[in-house]
């Protein structure tokens, strides 16, 4: 309780201001510091308009914003599903190298390679290619539209 009282008193401001007129030997025994104040951070999502480039959302050019919006749209067209063990070939996600577990959210690319949705979406925002066969996803998407 003592700590609670202390941390909410105005006095911790003088502690923060440094010890210039405090003799450290006279200081009371150190108490557990209160956690840093909660600051509602507006965390800007980070985008990768091209490989190797990382920028917060508010620093993107208009062209990059359009490109990202289009990319998000395309990614949302790719089928998703939950891992149920029926696909014997796909056992692990080559991006995180973890084995698929029942119920994992997967995303399927037109080349039929599949990954954890979270893993592949992160990659597709940087490069619109399949990590396994390097096939460009947009070209393959177009052919699936034309044939179906």
């Amino acid at each position: 309780m003592g700590n609670c009282f202390k941390s909410s008193s105005n006095d911790d401001i003088s502690l923060l201001r440094g010890n210039d007129h405090h003799d450290p030997a006279l200081e009371p025994a150190p108490f557990v510091e209160p956690p840093p104040p909660y600051r509602p951070q507006q965390r800007m999502p980070i985008f990768h308009p091209s490989p190797g480039v990382s920028r917060p959302a508010n620093q993107l050019t208009e062209d990059e914003q359009i490109k990202i919006a289009q990319r998000l749209g395309l990614i949302n067209h790719l089928p998703t599903g939950k891992y149920d063990g029926t696909n014997k070939k796909a056992k692990e996600c080559v991006i995180c190298m973890n084995e698929f577990v029942f119920g994992d959210e997967l995303r399927y690319l037109p080349c039929m390679h599949c990954y954890h949705r979270e893993c592949i979406d992160d990659w597709l925002m940087r490069s619109f290619t399949c990590p396994s066969c390097m096939e460009p996803v947009d070209a393959a998407l177009l052919t699936t539209y034309q044939t179906s």
């Binding site: 080559v94 991006i95 190298m97 973890n98 490069s127 290619t129 990590p131």
Partner: protein, 151 residues
């Protein structure tokens, strides 16, 4: 543990359990969060580099495997090769623009071993002198221009 560490932990496990021929992770070199590795490489038998030993330095960002690792030859023995600069920088497309998160430390090492093995004449890259004088310390900052793929 971050996702980078988790994945590198898996790679390390696989490489120590079942190491590929001529490729060995230098266990003492590993930093605690696995963001830096040194890998010992042997020149393959029957090639120009037979009997030579090399070291590759790997550095990973927290965004690995989405970001490629920084990979270069380090130590005293830098292979003399048309795609390897005398400061250890390697001109290999999978290390920059052709990187894929499906690649790994092991696959990068094997690509480099095979790049060495297919070499027919030990010589420095044609632009070695000027490159080594003017390049960035980080080979990933070089805008490589993959001139020829025949070697």
């Amino acid at each position: 543990m971050t996702s980078m560490e988790k994945r590198l932990q898996k790679e390390l496990q696989a490489m120590t359990k079942d190491p590929p021929v001529g490729v060995k992770v230098n266990m003492e070199s590993l930093s605690s969060n696995l963001s830096e590795w040194v890998v010992d490489i042997d020149g393959a038998t029957g090639t120009l580099y037979e009997g030579e030993k090399f070291q590759l330095g790997f550095k990973f960002t927290p965004r690995y495997p989405f970001d490629s690792p920084q990979v270069m030859f380090i130590g005293r023995n830098i292979p003399v090769h048309p795609h390897i600069y005398s400061n250890g920088h390697i001109c290999l497309s999978i290390l920059t623009e052709d990187w894929s998160p499906a690649l790994s430390v092991q696959s990068v090492c094997l690509s480099i071993v095979s790049m060495l093995s297919s070499c027919k004449e030990k010589k420095l890259p044609p632009d070695n002198a000027i490159y080594v004088r003017t390049c960035s310390k980080d080979p990933k900052k070089t805008r490589w221009w993959y001139h020829d793929n025949s070697v």
